[in-house]
């Protein structure tokens, strides 16, 4: 069965930040909320690599496991979504998330967090597809239009791949074979092979 995943090919990522602005543009994500970001490791050194990262829509997602109000859920495409109506802004998902995906607006000057916001794989949320409520809370639902997350669709060097895990894994493997090297799919082990699962 299809299982949606993200894969960032660090050999191709040039830190152009298209994924970041495309996401912001598509979902009108406000200043300070970064559903997706590009992290550069070893900045300025020969080993430098940039990796675009957002919610990886983990298997056995730890955020879902720790949410005290069960506001996060995973659908049968593997996409991890959440309900902003239920979220209480406790921050547990942020502690559990291996990729720093959950983001919080500030709810008050008392330091508390507002409703969690994160990458939806451009699949909206629990509201009715294409409804105004869905758009306002979660952004566009591209998946329901048969489109992939915009970040991957616009990636300038096709470094960021999204879609069926087997297919994007295949695209990546072909590249590795052709160029003869690859530094591995960053985050896949953590995201898709869970705690101690799947070997």
């Amino acid at each position: 069965m299809a299982r949606m995943k993200f894969l960032c090919d660090a050999e191709r990522c040039i830190e152009c930040n298209a994924c970041v602005t495309a996401c912001k543009n598509e979902h009108e994500v406000p200043w300070g909320i970064n559903r997706r970001r590009v992290v550069t490791i070893d900045d300025g050194l020969p080993s430098e690599r940039s990796i675009s990262i957002a919610c990886m829509h983990c298997t056995d997602a730890p955020c879902i496991a720790v949410c005290p109000v069960d506001c996060i859920y995973q659908n049968d495409n593997g996409i991890v979504l959440h309900s902003k109506d239920l979220c209480i802004g406790c921050g547990y998902c942020f502690y559990a998330c291996p990729f720093g995906a959950p983001q919080y607006p500030q709810a008050s000057n008392f330091g508390s967090r507002g409703k969690m916001d994160k990458c939806t794989f451009c699949a909206g949320g629990p509201e009715e597809n294409h409804s105004e409520a869905e758009y306002r809370k979660y952004g566009r639902n591209r998946v329901a239009e048969g489109k992939l997350p915009l970040c991957a669709e616009v990636c300038s060097t096709r470094a960021l791949l999204a879609g069926d895990g087997e297919m994007i894994g295949g695209i990546y493997e072909e590249r590795v074979i052709r160029r003869g090297y690859g530094s591995g799919a960053w985050g896949w082990q953590t995201a898709y092979y869970g705690r101690n699962l799947g070997g």
């Binding site: 970001r37 990262i53 109506d85 720093g100 629990p126 048969g146 069926d164």
Partner: protein, 401 residues
């Protein structure tokens, strides 16, 4: 000398019943804790549990596969597939729904393909780099310990809390069943001795009330999803949790102030002394057959222990709690995870200790409750538990008269 059991066997029976209940709860907790944590299963819904009327996007999967192919296409050669310009519009509700067995099989299939793409696997590790946005926390690329934190939180803390609270309560209940209520051995004299001023009592109750609210809301956040949500439903439970989270934070203020006032008022009377050694040796004279109670000043060793547990616990909760309320103010992600675990752990132990404190101040000991409620105690009670204090107080009173 009359035994307590003769006098108030009702307490002993209640103690035995409570002990039985707590033993069952503890056993249940221990049993639950032996299983491994369940995999997260897809539900296709969240507001009211698993749903099959929510579009699952499963119907979109095929369209998405086509779209994924576009990401490989054209890196190769040749013209574009004409279809690329107009994506299919899909997204119908999926039929059937996901039952738990199906969902478990689905997750199993997701996990099953690891061997097929082992080449793509990088070793997991904590990775931090640079981001251009001025928010340092974004620079952590990967922190696989999040999954470890999830395990510690969902197992060690959740079950550990149950074991500590139920276990300690069970001990108290057993003690009650065995020893009964600690009596005022000489009986009530009818003469009252002022023990706590109005200010001291007010402060105590503010602190205590805050603590109870904080503790209950803390428990609500930790256990509510298992214990209450099934009863209330997601929507109502969410409101409770939201209000609970706010109560938890807001009442931290009076609690901390109350503890601070206690420290100012009582710290000198809670210093250790030689008497404490004696008191501990004789276990405060609570055990049956002990010859009276050991001498004590205003606070005996048991009360001192409560005092210091509260003070140190409050400091720990305050520091960790603030660092959770103000993320990244002084802690990075690892520190925050640790802070959360400490906060929850200390909180749970505090709850157990305070249960003990409440027990001994109410059911566990005759005449004790008056001290904090009315502010004065019976002279005989004072003589038994705070003999030196009483002596000094009476001496003092004589001098003033």
């Amino acid at each position: 000398m009359k035994t307590t059991s003769d006098r108030l066997s009702g307490y002993r029976i209640a103690g035995a019943v409570a002990a039985l209940l707590l033993a069952i709860l503890l056993g249940w907790t221990l049993y639950e804790s032996t299983g491994t944590e369940q995999l997260v299963l897809p539900t296709n819904g969240v507001l009211h549990g698993a749903r099959d009327d929510v579009p699952s996007d499963a119907a979109a999967a095929e369209a998405l596969r086509e779209r994924t192919a576009l990401q490989a296409w054209r890196g190769e050669a040749g013209p574009s597939p004409a279809a690329a310009a107009e994506p299919a519009v899909t997204g119908q509700a999926m039929g059937g729904g996901t039952d738990e067995t199906g969902a478990a099989a689905l997750v199993a299939s997701w996990l099953g393909s690891r061997d097929e793409n082992w080449e793509m696997i990088r070793e997991r590790g904590f990775l931090e780099g640079r981001v251009t946005q001025p928010a340092e926390f974004l620079s952590v690329l990967e922190q696989p310990q999040g999954r470890t934190w999830r395990g510690l939180h969902n197992e060690e803390i959740v079950f550990g809390g149950g074991i500590v609270i139920f276990g300690f309560s069970l001990l108290l209940a057993l003690f009650l069943a065995w020893r009964g209520r600690v009596p005022v051995e000489e009986g009530f004299s009818g003469e009252r001795v002022q023990r706590f001023s109005g200010f001291e009592r007010a402060n105590h109750w503010v602190t205590a009330g805050s603590f109870v609210l904080i503790a209950l809301t803390g428990l609500l956040l930790l256990y509510g999803q298992y214990l209450l949500k099934p009863l209330l439903g997601a929507g109502i439970y969410h409101s409770w949790a939201l209000v609970g989270a706010w109560i938890h934070m807001i009442f931290a203020v009076p609690f901390v102030i109350g503890v601070a006032v206690m420290v100012v008022m009582w710290i000198r009377q809670n210093g250790p002394s030689k008497l404490d050694v004696e008191w501990l040796k004789r276990f405060g004279g609570f055990l049956p057959g002990s010859e009276g109670h050991p001498p004590a000043r205003r606070f005996n060793t048991g009360q001192k222990l409560i005092f210091w547990a509260v003070v140190l616990g409050a400091i720990a909760l305050l520091v960790t709690g603030l660092s959770l309320m103000f993320p990244f103010f002084w802690l990075e992600i690892t520190g925050m995870q640790l802070a959360q675990l400490i906060h929850a752990g200390v909180g749970l132990v505090m709850i157990a200790i305070i249960i003990g404190h409440i027990y001994i101040g109410t059911v566990g000991m005759e005449g004790a409750f008056d001290a904090m409620w009315r502010g004065d105690v019976d002279r005989n009670w004072a003589k038994e538990h705070h003999s030196i204090w009483l002596a000094e107080k009476q001496g003092g009173r004589r001098q003033t008269h």
